[in-house]
């Protein structure tokens, strides 16, 4: 049992918290006793080989959940369950962690429960067999908090190490890597020997290395562990090594640790720069999406459209309505909700855009100040209309499963929703470019923009082209709203947040040039993300604005200025 020495820091921390803080409503002495008890039990468990405890004993322990008075008592019961070493307790522990463990008020028997409408479906906590159902009032949920969830996760880590499912073993190894415990080395050694899947084996070896660092094994073992962690080279490894280095005695081990720390820090700095570039690209794609519609209405047509942001908002609300219908009527289609919302958002925003152009803007061509004020008024009307229809609070737009979570390339964390938005914005850009450059409609649009009278003389119905161009720009803003609903609030104020950024991008990139908008969006995004870590989010934005002002002083027409006689006219 003297292998428990490395755990002493944790033990003493628990003991040192007994200075009677005002937040404690549970006698401190008892808490410490429980903590130590639990601790002792956790240790015993780690030394005993996985055993099949008899079912009746397990049921007796599980039944105690019903009478646990507070979180400490529940923690203690979790410890007891884990100490049995029986893998069949996994079901009830997972349920407890998910807040799905209940006890019936009538007879204090414990069940796993799944909510179904007003009733709760009950299942046996050990074998998962159905046990009828109960009304919500008849059962009480066993409460969990974060400390309890952590305890369960650690306990499950040990229990699932020999699970048949490689994913469960991998999760177990990950948990054990993060909570190193010298007592687990033997179990890990056995698991490494039996492991057939290479990725799991690697993770197990890393978990073993982290445990070795906190053990009192000889220096040679520790050096090997340090090189394993150095090879892993991520932030978790770094934090383990840093913690180890502060306690290490001078000598070869400490030198090796410091070398590994320096090595990892160097690699991480490079990854960090890569991460910043990625964040910049991701922010740039959001800017591009928001600005691309404006690049048409403002850039190509020259209309200062202050209601542009509200078109984005309408797109986002269309997504909300679509998801709402899908949720209530066709729940199976949820992952397709965005694909369904895209054309609808385009149509809704496009139609509103068309109405604005026909109703207001066409009377104001050539009068920029009046256009600005009129479209501003329109934006307020649209906002208040949406507020009246949908209410002032945020509306929930869910992420389809393929847009949730993330993955890692090396040390680069990439979230799916951001990745898809980058892809989507580039796709929209490509389509728009194609429409402008390769279709007859695009040709007419450019002709009208460059020389209205000449185009008119050639038989182009210029008012018609104007209306459709404005509708196209608005429609594009609408589909941008579908994408932005995935990362931002869907509220009546959604559009306001993007209007200034959009104008900034279009002006910076060069009015009337789609490529300019693309380059402008990404350079502003990346610039912003490189400034942010040093200057902070608030100052970073100010700096970007100042830089743009300076840039516009130098090049009033932006990055890619249109040249030619038409522009001067």
């Amino acid at each position: 049992m003297n292998k428990s020495v490395p755990n002493c820091p944790r033990l003493s921390r628990i003991a040192s918290s007994s200075d009677g803080r005002s937040v404690e409503h549970w006698s401190t002495t008892w808490r410490d006793v429980f903590a130590i008890l639990f601790f002792a039990m956790a240790l015993i468990f780690h030394f005993s080989p996985p055993a099949q405890a008899d079912e009746a004993a397990l049921r007796t322990i599980i039944a105690k959940f019903a009478t646990a008075k507070n979180f400490q008592a529940t923690v203690q019961i979790v410890g007891e369950l884990a100490a049995t070493g029986d893998p069949s307790v996994e079901r009830s522990l997972t349920a407890l962690s998910n807040g799905e463990l209940y006890f019936r008020k009538a007879d204090a028997s414990v069940f796993i429960g799944k909510e179904q409408g007003q009733a709760i479906l009950l299942a046996d906590p050990l074998n998962g067999d159905g046990a009828g159902e109960a009304a919500k009032a008849e059962v009480t949920k066993i409460k969990v908090n974060n400390t309890l969830r952590r305890t369960i996760r650690d306990a499950l880590g040990g229990l699932t190490l020999s699970s048949a499912d490689p994913a469960a073993r991998l999760a177990a190894a990950r948990t054990m890597f993060k909570t190193p415990n010298a007592a687990t080395i033997e179990a890990l050694d056995a698991a490494i020997l039996n492991e057939a899947v290479a990725s799991v084996k690697k993770q197990l070896e890393q978990a073993r290395a982290s445990a070795v660092l906190v053990s009192d094994l000889p220096a040679s073992e520790k050096l090997a562990a340090i090189s394993v962690l150095k090879a892993r080279g991520d932030r978790d490894a770094l934090s383990l090594l840093t913690a180890f280095a502060t306690g290490a005695e001078d000598g070869a081990v400490k030198e090796a640790t410091e070398g590994a720390i320096a090595g990892i820090t160097g690699t991480l700095a490079i990854w960090n720069a890569a991460q910043n570039v990625w964040y910049g690209v991701s922010l740039g794609s959001v800017l591009l999406l928001a600005a691309i519609g404006l690049a048409i209405t403002f850039g190509v047509m020259g209309v200062i459209n202050m209601a542009h942001g509200e078109m984005v908002m309408l797109g986002a609300y269309t997504t909300f309505v679509v998801q709402n219908v899908i949720r209530t009527s066709f729940p199976g289609l949820f992952d397709w909700s965005l694909a369904i919302a895209l054309p609808l958002a385009f149509l809704v925003a496009g139609a509103v855009g068309l109405a604005i152009e026909r109703g207001i803007i066409r009377f104001l061509y050539g009068r920029p100040l009046e256009t600005l004020l009129a479209t501003w008024g329109v934006s307020l009307i649209l906002q208040q209309a949406v507020r009246t229809i949908f209410g002032p609070t945020n509306r929930e737009v869910g992420n389809p499963s393929w847009m949730s979570g993330g993955f890692e390339i090396g040390q680069l964390a990439i979230t799916w929703n951001r990745l898809w938005i980058v892809v989507f914005s580039l796709g929209v850009f490509a389509i728009l470019l194609y429409v402008m450059k390769r279709t007859p409609w695009g040709l007419q649009m450019r002709a009208v923009t460059q020389n209205r009278r000449m185009a008119s003389s050639m038989g182009i119905r210029t008012p018609w082209v104007d209306a459709l161009t404005f509708a196209l720009g608005s429609g594009i803003a609408g589909i941008a709203g579908v994408a932005l609903s995935q990362i931002d609030n869907v509220s009546p104020n959604l559009g306001q947040g993007y209007i200034i950024d959009s104008f900034m991008v279009v002006v910076f990139g060069g009015v009337g040039n789609l490529w300019g908008t693309l380059v402008g969006a990404f350079s502003l995004g990346i610039l912003n993300k490189f400034l942010e870590p040093y200057a902070g989010a608030v100052l970073g934005k100010i700096l970007v604005l100042v830089l743009i002002i300076l840039f516009i002083q130098k090049r009033p027409r932006g990055l890619f200025a249109l040249k030619g006689r038409a522009v001067e006219a």
Partner: protein, 436 residues
């Protein structure tokens, strides 16, 4: 930048909408009524939070009238819309007091809006009931603070996280929106943490603009800060809309509550309504009231509220409870004084106790703050909070923080003969900080 812009927009919004939106409830002919002013934004950025409070006040007034009104007269609500525009708050407050002759005003949400109306209430000697948790460092004769002071929300939350129950946190990220409430609260928290022996390098302070939506860098920073081998928590004073993308980013980057819990002071049931809360389960909020509080008073209130709004899913939240308490205190004080004029109510309201919705009684203290229980709740998958910890008794609101060097000697006591909002116990003089 967006902040500036939205103020600008709000100005325009105000100009465009005020004319049509600011209406008075139809006056009841021939009958003398007591008018109650409601000063909450119904348009603009703050409408998201404040509209509910207007509905709450209409509901409370309606309930009171069903009970026979006050002093034998019916109550009449006067609703105005300051449109999230801070200077307009002052204008609208003046209109309520001078033109509509209201007996008391219930309103404001942001600290800026409160600061903007203070001189008006002082000059015209009227009453303001302010229902939102705020940064403290203020006590005015004409204002009653029914929301939480920092010691009724922020400090207990941090104490909880430091305790073993809360996970023995040793490293802190103080993240907030860049304005007065987060900055003052974070200053107090920083001083408090340092007084508890937390090293400076274990505290990271981060501010973001209003409505910030790109949280990638900051969430990564938090992740890195949290991987230094010490238990880390985030204390969030992030305001309003910016919370949704923040929590979404946390979920996507895989930060779980077991690893780095976030405790938020501005996120309530209303804010969570716009969010898929499944990835947030286990993150914390600190308030003085949750809809899930299981008391007969609360069950009764929720039932009546949902019946009044004809929406069986309508949620309740902490600032609503503050209005309930504030309104009932005002009613009781008016009954006690037998009059509605400000001076009489200011004298009679101190010491008035009314039931709060979490099963106890809240009392108006001489510093114009009230006593409240503090609850720590965990966000649940259904968007509700589940209380995981609460103070055993009530906490008295402390207007001048004990942790800031220039306010620790100040106290407020509006009873005669002291009658001072910033009495310095060290010099024995009234005055110093906080005179408006």
């Amino acid at each position: 930048m967006r902040g500036n812009f939205s103020t600008y927009t709000n100005f325009m919004a105000a100009a465009a909408i005020t004319a049509s939106m600011s209406f008075s409830a139809p006056a009841i002919a021939q009958e003398e009524t007591i008018k109650v002013g409601i000063l909450h934004s119904l348009s603009g950025t703050m409408a998201i939070s404040e509209t509910t409070l207007k509905d709450t006040m209409l509901f409370l007034i309606d309930e009171q009238n069903k009970k026979g009104g006050l002093l034998g007269k019916k109550l009449e609500a006067v609703v105005v819309d300051p449109a999230s525009d801070w200077p307009l708050f002052a204008e609208k407050a003046r209109e309520l007091i001078e033109k509509d002759k209201v007996a008391a005003v219930f309103g404001c949400w942001t600290s800026v809006s409160r600061k903007s109306v203070l001189p008006v209430f002082d000059e015209l000697n009227s009453l303001l009931f302010y229902p939102v948790q705020y940064e403290g460092e203020e006590s005015q004769r004409n204002v009653f603070y029914t929301g939480a002071a920092p010691n009724q929300q922020a400090i207990p939350a941090v104490e909880y996280l430091m305790s073993e129950d809360g996970g023995s946190v040793e490293r802190w990220v103080l993240a907030g929106t860049d304005y007065v409430y987060p900055q003052t609260t974070n200053k107090i928290l920083q001083a408090y943490l340092e007084s508890k022996g937390v090293a400076k390098e274990d505290i990271m302070v981060n501010y973001t603009p209003f409505g910030h939506s790109d949280w990638q860098t900051i969430v990564t920073d938090i992740k890195n800060f949290g991987s230094a081998g010490k238990k880390t928590a985030v204390v969030s004073t992030i305001n309003g809309d910016a919370n949704v993308p923040f929590y979404k980013e946390l979920g996507n980057q895989g930060i779980k509550a077991e690893d780095i819990p976030v405790v938020a002071f501005s996120v309530g049931e209303e804010e969570l309504a716009g969010l898929d809360t499944a990835p947030l389960v286990g993150h914390l909020t600190a308030w003085n009231y949750f809809q899930s509080v299981d008391t007969p008073e609360n069950t009764d209130f929720i039932a009546k509220w949902q019946e009044y709004t004809k929406n069986p899913k309508r949620v309740t939240n902490d600032p609503m409870e503050a209005h309930v308490i504030g309104f009932n205190m005002w009613v009781k004080a008016v009954e006690k004084a037998g009059a509605t004029d400000a001076d009489a109510v200011i004298d009679s309201i101190i010491g008035v106790s009314v039931p709060n919705l979490s099963g106890g009684f809240s009392t108006m203290m001489p510093n114009h703050h009230i006593t409240k229980p503090v609850l720590i709740g965990e966000i649940q998958a259904d968007g509700q909070m589940e209380t995981v910890w609460q103070t055993s008794g009530l906490v008295v609101g402390d207007e001048w923080s004990d942790y800031l060097p220039d306010s620790k000697d100040l106290i407020a006591d509006w009873r005669a003969p002291l009658s001072c909002g910033n009495f310095n116990v060290a010099t024995g003089k009234c005055g110093g900080k906080g005179i408006n």
